[in-house]
Symmetry: D2
Subunit: 136 residues, 4 copies
């Protein structure tokens, strides 16, 4: 397995919340990652729409994998998310990409789309990079 | 039941993600709410610490109840969260309060604390207020 | 003048802070805008680096123009900015693009780069769209 | 002069943008600071209201002083701001307070109010704390 595939396998196996919610880490590349989630009743808020916590968790899953894609540990320190359209049903897809990386800080943008390809939420995440390797 | 207790009952009953994750809405007041979560294995990230999505979801649950505490519907449009310390075990508590309310927008601050009372995450949420009543 | 050029002229003429700080709105397109600033002593913080307020203001200028590029009024309601590298000297460039637009809300991403082309700050902005036209 | 007064004097003297915009650092305490600004024409946006960059810069000035109030250097890494009401005229006041401090990260909340005491903007800032002393 190449490094990115080992990172994908590591997060798929060890991220307990992602597993509990049914999120799948589809792919990891250099500074990028894609995660998917089939919406079910358990993912909904009191209005019967995709919960903010659901959409955030999916974006965060892709963000974390992208930020750790080099195999070095990165800690999420701040995230901001804007909800543009409701998520109603079907499969949500979160695509993360690196926007900028400095010596210790790096910033990632994640777009969460619905089945029709429309972006329903925009997410920005900041990590602090450690010198430690992930236990891949 | 008074209005705030009806709001609390409404979110407790209808927020499916909150129920699935085991979050409890302890109290709702005027522009405020408190939610709790006993951390379990399913709430953890790949490092064995409270997942960003878990902490966000708990903060968002308190935020949503506080923002809807008047009985008028409010839609979360943006949230920002900073993670200061890891959440390791025990019970997390999120306390939300209104910072400012204009004619259509309102801002809330949520602090998430651990068992020792230390704030592990700071959350800021913005809602757009609709004129509709919640179906309490 | 086409519509985008009229939007550019409108903001160039009427944005007083932008003028006072020496920021230039270089171009406006459909959901996009670019602004520039030559760093001077007045733009610096107590450490002699580009002030957070300077970098934010430049990003906000590009964001505002991009969000209003259709000629309809849009109000900035939330912005989040991450600082990845210090801005030391030379010309800063902010490029804004639309990430998602719903019926009333829209989200924009702005990257602020230095002379070397490195992204020093990542900005995410959310607007509420009004039905009013800009007084172009 | 006590330490907090030296921090106040240091930022008042060396923050060039704050001086250029006419912002005053009124007081600094332990993890807190207050800054003021009398709104003038140069602070306005294209709609004739207080510019997002103006309000952000004032909040950031109070945030920076609060985060450095111990005399140790702290670098702002992320800020999020929500605009609830327009700032029209008069004096704006930004009050910053520490929400949480970990070993290297700390979070601050800033509320910006107008003359009537109403909160027009809510700001959340995250710093990374260095071991270096400020050159007070």
């Amino acid at each position: 397995m190449d490094k990115h595939e080992r990172v994908r396998a590591f997060f798929s196996r060890n991220d307990k919340l992602a597993g509990y919610l049914g999120m799948e880490l589809v792919s990891v590349g250099r500074g990028t990652a894609t995660a998917k989630l089939k919406l079910r009743d358990i993912h909904m808020n009191a209005a019967g729409l995709a919960h903010g916590g659901t959409v955030f968790s999916l974006a965060d899953f892709a963000f974390g994998a992208a930020a750790n894609s080099s195999g070095k540990m990165a800690l999420g320190v701040n995230m901001s998310i804007s909800f543009i359209k409701p998520g109603e049903s079907g499969v949500l897809t979160a695509v993360a990409r690196e926007v900028s990386a400095g010596s210790r800080l790096a910033s990632y943008a994640v777009e969460v789309s619905d089945d029709s390809g429309q972006v329903i939420a925009a997410f920005q995440g900041l990590v602090y990079r450690k010198r430690d390797d992930l236990p891949l």
